[in-house]
């Protein structure tokens, strides 16, 4: 692998020397969720991405943004339009794994690069991996694996597990169970986009669990947390950062205080790139960034780092430049594994209140240098 890296790096350097690179701009198509219960995630990814471009002064990167409404059919239509009539070079932006599964395989088959700022379904990390597909966030299982590891260290022996019924939901429970060693008090898949959790909360109450692991991103998480707080059930909650992101916490308020969750990023991660990012994001948008915003920001910086080394028209050189991941990530150290998914540390955070704002603070490391479980199945 390493020798291949060097080889590809050399090719990239030659291409750069030949003066072919960086003459042309790059056209980016961003398909993301800007309306409905999942809007908070897409808005943060978009804003993080745009912030990175603005800070770099990258005027030759043109970004076309479209709202997929969290619907796979809409996402496919937008992707077709962006590839065929807008002729974008790179696609990015998709939040939801079911949408990614509908768009990504076809897009990379048509020779486009896809940089995922969020969704990392297992099917695209293993046998279905592709040389033009890069995930800048995580493989879906990662944060849930860390939650499982944390559950062991917290001494939980009987977890109730709850996730939506779509690729990232099954990845979530698979990931949790890969590390969690206790018993399962219950395992429930809900509808994607569900907003009433009375039935599931009733099941949790009757289950005799000592902990509730749940993965409910966006509006689903807000609805669940609010209803859970009203229900009188007081079994401790654990989950990935998606269930406790900046938007969810503001809507849920006190009910989330003290809850532990797992994330590859937090605003108080101590590195130069992150400090600058958090400051600039607040100055630009007047709110705290979420992990989604950091992922959007990293995705844009990865793209810019590759653009500085190679012309996107020279696919092999551009791919090698992406693989090198030569950019300052908000997560600190960042590198890609053999299947183009990150190898990174995953942290434990706790929900706290700073002034009037609910946010997370780092309390420890759950998993160090974590790649993913599917890399071996990937043959590029």
């Amino acid at each position: 692998m390493k020798s291949r890296h060097i080889l590809l790096g050399t090719i990239a350097a030659v291409a750069l020397g030949a003066g072919a690179a960086t003459a042309e701009g790059i056209k980016v198509g961003m398909i993301t969720t800007l309306s409905g219960g999942g809007a908070g995630l897409g808005i943060d990814v978009r804003d993080g991405f745009n912030l990175a471009l603005k800070r770099a002064g990258a005027t030759d990167v043109e970004v076309i943004v479209e709202d997929d409404q969290q619907k796979p059919d809409v996402a496919v239509q937008i992707a077709d339009k962006m590839i065929q009539s807008d002729q974008v070079d790179v696609l990015t932006g998709i939040i939801w794994s079911n949408l990614a599964m509908a768009v990504v395989p076809a897009a990379v088959a048509q020779g486009k690069f896809y940089l995922s700022p969020n969704a990392g379904p297992s099917a695209l990390a293993g046998a279905g991996c592709n040389q033009n597909y890069f995930n800048v966030a995580w493989q879906n299982d990662n944060l849930h694996e860390a939650a499982g590891a944390y559950a062991n260290s917290a001494g939980y022996k009987n977890s109730f597990m709850l996730a939506p019924n779509y690729p990232a939901g099954t990845d979530a429970i698979t990931g949790y169970k890969r590390f969690y060693e206790g018993a399962a008090a219950g395992e429930v898949y809900t509808q994607l986009g569900q907003t009433d959790y009375a039935v599931e909360i009733g099941q949790i109450r009757a289950s005799g669990a000592d902990s509730v692991f749940f993965f409910l991103p966006g509006g689903m998480g807000i609805a669940f947390m609010k209803q859970y707080a009203e229900s009188g059930v007081d079994i401790p909650l654990i989950g990935p950062a998606f269930s406790f992101d900046q938007n969810i916490l503001q809507a849920v308020g006190d009910a989330a205080l003290g809850v532990r969750n797992t994330s590859q990023w937090n605003k108080d991660l101590d590195n130069e790139a992150n400090t600058a990012f958090v400051e600039a994001f607040q100055a630009e948008y007047g709110r705290l960034p979420s992990l989604y915003a950091s992922q959007g920001y990293d995705t844009a910086n990865l793209l810019l780092s590759a653009k500085a080394k190679a012309d996107v028209a020279d696919q092999d050189a551009f791919r090698a430049a992406l693989e090198a991941a030569d950019f300052a990530s908000t997560r600190g150290e960042f590198r890609f594994g053999p299947n183009h998914h990150p190898i990174q540390d995953i942290y434990v955070r706790e929900v706290v209140k700073e002034g009037d704002i609910y946010t997370n603070k780092l309390v420890g490391v759950a998993l160090e240098d974590r790649g993913d479980a599917y890399a071996e199945e990937c043959k590029m």
């Binding site: 809007a39 399962a184 009433d196 009375a198 109450r205 509006g219 807000i222 609010k226 209803q227 009203e230």
Partner: protein, 304 residues
Amino acid sequence: MMLLSEQVLNGLQYGMTLFLMAAGLTLVFGVMGLINLAHGSLYMLGAFACAWVAGATGSFALGLIASLSAAAAAGALVEVVVIRRLYARDHLEQVLATFALILVFSEGARWVFGSFPLYLTLPSALSGAVMLPGGLQYPLFRLAIIGVGVAVAVGLWLLISRTRLGIRIRAGEADREMVAALGVDIARLYTAVFALGAALAGLAGALVGTIQSVQVGMGEPVLILAFVVIVIGGIGSIKGAFVAALLVGLTDALGKALLPSLFARVMEVSAANGIGTALGSMLIYILMAGVLIWRPQGLYGARA
């Protein structure tokens, strides 16, 4: 046992919100013969009105009043401006026109409130859980919704069976030409019925929006279920809508809660989960199909 009684309450609460939606829909369909797809938009409108007023004034009661009056006013306006021209047309044109209304309402709400969901805070008097006899804890607000549903059902029953307006509604349902010939101002009657239905939808939206979220497009999934309810109950029948709404609510809640564990007795847990969850969400449609085979006109439907 505890699980069962909690899920029965969940089913009742869900059924009551469906009833609030279905009551207006079935009245409009029964009295005016109109298919109103925009009923879900009135539900959304009620929720937004409640969220906005409750947010601005800090009073949930004012929010509820706002949801009722905004939805009723919008209903009356829509009836006078658009719907009135559709009574004589066939159902396809009604569906097209009211679908257009959905788009107008949705884009209007997006324009005014943005596409980010709004979240309401429960009034402190109605927040938290209460201990019921038998040791079951249950959220107070959901109990309040059941109470509101029962009160509306009783009120509607009194209105239809005991008042002059009710007599006119029933007469209009039976033979609208004859009612008009007898000197009843049928146009005003229709506007009143439409506004009443809209107000109930708005109330449902405000109540559900309070425990879930208020967002553009929240009305359409509920609209589909409300249609299922009025088809099961029999078109035009308030009593049918009430019984069918409770039936659908209970079937949905109990199916989702009990099916996976039922299947787990005969097969492996993860497979049972998958099949149970899938079947649980289909159950109300299976129920509808079953009722229609048994009684094609619905449980309390008058016309075949």
